[in-house]
């Protein structure tokens, strides 16, 4: 599904040049659940951002289901993102001025989905996230776990092939963290590919494969046999 080769990303300021990715090569099969781990500053979030087309690398190739999204212009990248990728962030990034319902609905509006269909899909998603009773609330009125569930619902609403999660439980207590991880597993079991950046070995244990990074490079990979043995 995803193949990247020799990806390089350098951040430059006036005085300092920081290499975030040093020729990273990596591939993900459809339906996989991959965790990326490593110390702070090793380049995991940068890798996730490049995979999500939120950031552009200096060098390297990126193939996604036979297309090369790095060659797209800004407008088409945006289109590609909304059709294929869902994002979940550590800090939720919900829009404070919109209700739960409206936050989840937003990607459908950008995708041009008709109003009646939107209503159906958003209500289904909120039910699935167990947030039906909270649809008229604003993000500030929810707990952290509920907010992250809204963010996950929003990431899934466009039925993406790929979920990119950047430390999705980083701001949550263990109970809410587990709840979010279970949702991601459930999604993965439904066939959605998940790539997750995490510091937590506990969270990584939910994935089928764990990739370790250090100093902008992939240093090792480990297959989670317990998970891989389970039927997809």
């Amino acid at each position: 599904m995803i193949t990247i080769q020799h990806l390089t990303k350098v951040y430059r300021t006036e005085e300092v040049e920081t290499t975030a990715l040093q020729g990273v090569s990596f591939s993900v099969e459809p339906g996989e659940f991959v965790s990326i781990m490593g110390p702070s500053g090793c380049g995991k979030s940068t890798l996730l951002n490049v995979l999500g087309l939120l950031d552009m690398p200096e060098n390297g190739t990126y193939e996604f289901n036979g297309t090369e999204p790095l060659k797209l212009n800004e407008r088409d990248r945006s289109k590609f993102r909304k059709l294929n990728i869902g994002f979940v962030f550590q800090s939720f990034n919900l829009i404070d001025e919109l209700t739960v319902y409206e936050n989840v609905e937003l990607p459908l509006i950008y995708a041009g989905v008709p109003s009646s269909e939107r209503k159906q899909r958003v209500n289904d998603m909120l039910k699935r996230m167990n947030l039906g009773h909270r649809s008229a609330h604003f993000p500030q009125q929810l707990s952290g776990g509920q907010q992250q569930r809204v963010a996950v619902g929003r990431a899934l609403i466009n039925r993406p092939n790929l979920i990119l999660a950047d430390e999705p439980t980083g701001n949550l207590d263990s109970f809410n963290g587990n709840e979010v991880m279970e949702i991601l597993c459930e999604l993965n079991e439904g066939g959605t590919t998940v790539i997750m950046v995490t510091h937590s070995s506990h969270d990584a244990s939910f994935s089928k494969r764990i990739v370790y990074m250090k100093d902008g490079q992939i240093v090792t990979e480990r297959i989670n046999k317990e998970k891989i043995a389970e039927p997809i």
């Binding site: 829009i95 001025e97 950008y110």
Partner: protein, 781 residues
């Protein structure tokens, strides 16, 4: 999409209602200021626009060999030109001696009508007033016919029809009301309450007491017509007989709609607008608009920084650049619309005060002003929309990951733009404050200035008939009144600008531009004017009707006058008096000669009474009673000389008030901008402040830290504004003959005021940040 964006925009504005209120309020105040100024500008520019024939009506003017343009015209000229030049389709003249104030009597009602105009029967062809009663074709057929305005009709006849009624002109001559005209919706460059037909075709070829208007065929080449008129006139034997200089005269046509702003025309009878003042006001309106735009842009930049994470997330969710830009524009538009509505409400509230200050009736929604206002408002909205658009374009183009990582914190280029805008804004505010101080200083100086006479406790009574024949009797009667110390008479009072000016050859010298004032005995004593040499007029000499008194400027200006020797018309100069401020503060004293009223002089039109003021009500009561015997049928009309003279300050007092209002507004709006910006900076530096406090920084230290940058920017703004104030101030002051130079405090005051206001404004926000709990600050972000 639109509905979602609108929802977010409204909720966002509500969530940050404090900021939004300050922003919208600043905008609405600026717009209100702009609207008020533009309404006045439109009013001033609307003169004669009611006249559908205005495009083809011109004023015929004379250009002297020295380039001066004169308004007065020989009466015979216009009819001859119409006969000879086919381009001229009509003409109408106004007669100098047939205009002015008249007493009009209807039964027991006596009304002084201020503006009566003696015109030709063709008047309505050039000035097609709408007649409520009568018809324009026949209304001015006979010399005993008058057409009155609806306002005069109301005063004289109430709601009853006026047509066909006989009224008495100057209390004795019967005339018939042949029509009533409706006062036009926009003003006219001459004032007319009553028009009546002239009683002659002209007063001879040497009598330049007419003002002539002509109507031309549409499409006429005016330059060509001007030269044809000049050729025709110079060909006339009557003009050649006048004197040698007449043949050299050129003639000029000025469009009707330009006349109001032509202050360069000598001896004119019409109203004049102040184009300089209008330009100044337009400048202030633009200033307000620019400052409002800067506030708006700065506000939007700070808002966009605060909401950069939201913007980034929208991009992640698939928002295209244009849709983000549209969203920000929608939010801007919402604020502009609210600001606009609020601005209109504020303008409507302040309209009566501005109208009474400027002496005009301004309407926001009545009449044509609304249509004109659309243009100005459209420009304002466009400019402000563009300022919001700049931010929308900028932020929508940022890389989402950078924005979400908090890399876009309004540092670097954004901060630079913000600082530059702030400098521009405060440079304008400093300019407004500095200009106000210069104007205020000059206005105060003019009020303190000695005008050369004692204007206090002098009553001026208007003379409607001739009092010359029974003057001694009148003077004795008035002198006997309680509280009256001196009685005299004069034709021109200080403050009268249009005076008799003569040019004549005296003892081989060409005496040009000499003002001639007709006075009675004791005039100088009553006015408290200073005797410099010789003596005042004195009736005991008996021959003083053949004497002259000159002012000091006349003595200095001409070579030939010598005290004690004959001069103009072989009359002897018996005294030299000090100069007085006759025509205002822009013009220095001009050469003036005073002579005693006689059959050979212009008549005196005012009686002046120097009173002691001990029992003024009794004096006036007795004066009113006495006047019934002095001018039977003419009720007493009086005023105090200081009131009339003080009208010369009026324009500058108005200017001072206007500038105080608008400069305060400019400064206030700039301060609102700084208030929002300092709040933002304090928010942005919350963490830094927290750390500093943990490390031991005092409240004062934090306030200094946050204020210093703003104060430096305001100092830079002052450095830009002060030289401009100096140049513009000097230029403005140079238009005054009487001026006190640039006041030092215009500079010091501007710097002190802008710095102080900035310090207070920033300190409010800085203090809030400084006293906040440092733990909260550290939790931020």
């Amino acid at each position: 999409m639109f509905a979602t964006n609108l929802r977010i925009a409204l909720r966002n504005l509500w969530k940050y209602r404090g900021f939004s209120l300050v922003n919208v309020l600043g905008l609405s105040i600026s717009l209100a200021g702009c609207i008020l100024i533009m309404l006045y500008v439109f009013y001033e520019r609307s003169y004669d626009h009611w006249n559908p024939r205005a495009a083809n009506v011109y004023r015929l003017l004379r250009v002297d060999p020295n380039g001066d343009i004169g308004a007065s015209m020989v009466g015979e000229l216009a009819p001859i030109l119409k006969d000879r030049l086919p381009e001229i389709t009509d003409y109408s003249r106004f007669h100098y001696w047939e205009m002015g104030k008249r007493l009009v009597v209807n039964g027991d009602k006596s009304v002084y009508v201020d503006h009566v105009q003696g015109v030709d029967s063709t008047f309505f062809r050039l000035f097609p007033y709408t007649l409520i009663e009568g018809d324009t074709a026949s209304a001015l057929k006979e010399t005993n016919m008058v057409v009155i305005s609806d306002l005069v009709a109301k005063k004289l006849f109430g709601d009853k029809p006026a047509i066909g009624k006989v009224i008495y002109w100057q209390a004795k001559n019967p005339v018939i009301v042949s029509g009533v005209f409706r006062t036009p919706s926009t003003p006219t460059h001459f004032q007319a309450d009553i028009v009546h037909k002239l009683n002659s075709k002209g007063d001879g070829w040497f009598n330049w007491n007419f003002y002539s208007y002509i109507a031309v065929r549409p499409g006429t080449d005016i330059k060509r017509l001007e030269s044809r008129i000049s050729q025709e006139v110079n060909r006339l034997p009557e003009m050649k007989d006048d004197n040698a200089s007449a043949a050299k005269q050129r003639f000029k046509l000025i469009p009707l709609t330009d006349l109001y702003f032509r202050t360069d025309i000598h001896n004119d009878f019409v109203l004049h607008g102040d184009a300089k003042m209008l330009r100044l006001l337009i400048g202030i309106a633009l200033l307000l608009l620019v400052i409002a735009c800067i506030n708006f842009t700065n506000f939007n930049i700070t808002q966009s920084i605060r909401r950069s994470r939201e913007t980034g997330m929208r991009k992640v969710l698939g928002a295209q650049r244009y849709s983000l830009a549209l969203y920000y524009l929608l939010e801007t538009t919402l604020q502009v619309l609210v600001g606009l509505v609020l601005g209109l409400v504020i303008a409507e509230l302040f309209l009566p005060s501005l109208g009474s200050l400027l002496g005009v009736k301004l309407h926001l929604f009545d009449g044509g002003a609304w249509k004109n206002l659309w243009v100005a408002l459209a420009i304002g909205v466009l400019v402000i929309g563009a300022s919001g658009g700049f931010v929308a374009y900028h932020i929508s183009g940022l890389e989402p990951v950078r924005v979400m990582k908090g890399e876009y914190q309004g540092k670097g280029r954004g901060a630079m733009i913000r600082k530059m805008l702030l400098i521009v804004q405060f440079a304008f505010a400093a300019l407004a404050v500095g200009s106000l101080l210069v104007i205020h200083h000059q206005e105060q100086y003019m009020e303190r200035l000695d005008p050369g006479f004692h204007k206090e406790q002098v009553i001026v009574a208007e003379v409607h008939t001739s009092v010359a024949q029974h003057w001694e009797e009148t003077k004795n009667r008035l002198s006997s009144l309680p509280g009256v110390r001196i009685v005299s008479k004069v034709n021109y009072l200080p403050g009268d600008k249009e005076m008799q000016v003569i040019g004549s050859d005296v003892q081989g010298e060409h005496v040009d531009g000499l003002d001639v004032v007709t006075v009675g005995y004791d005039y100088f004593e009553a006015m408290g004017m200073q005797l410099k040499k010789g003596r005042f007029f004195n009736s005991s000499y008996g021959l003083d009707s053949n004497s002259l008194i000159l002012n000091e400027t006349a003595l200095r200006h001409y070579k030939t006058p010598v005290l004690g020797h004959p001069w103009l018309n072989k009359m002897t100069i018996v005294g030299i008096v000090g100069d007085i401020n006759q025509r205002g503060f822009e013009r220095a004293a001009e050469p003036t000669v005073y002579q005693i009223e006689s059959d050979n002089t212009n008549p005196c039109t005012h009686v002046i009474l120097k009173v002691d003021g001990t029992n003024l009500p009794l004096t006036i009561k007795q004066l009113t009673a006495a006047w019934k015997e002095i001018e039977p049928g003419f009720p007493l009309e009086y005023h105090f000389l200081d009131e009339q003279f003080n009208r010369m300050y009026q324009k500058y007092r108005e200017m001072d008030t206007l500038f105080t209002a608008f400069s305060s507004l400019t400064l206030l709006i700039a301060l609102l901008g700084i208030f929002v910006l300092s709040a933002f900076i304090a928010l942005q530096r919350t963490k830094e402040i927290g750390i500093r406090k943990v490390l031991g920084a005092s409240v004062n230290g934090v306030i200094t830290l946050l204020s210093r940058d703003f104060l430096i920017l305001v100092l830079v703004a002052n450095a830009i504004a002060l030289p401009v104030i100096w140049v513009l101030g000097r230029q403005w002051l140079q238009s005054f003959a009487y001026q006190d130079g640039m006041p030092w405090y215009a500079f010091a005051g501007t710097v002190a005021l802008t710095l102080l206001c900035t310090l207070v404004t920033v300190s409010i926000q800085a203090w809030k940040a400084a006293v906040a709990d440092p733990v909260k600050a550290l939790k931020y972000e």
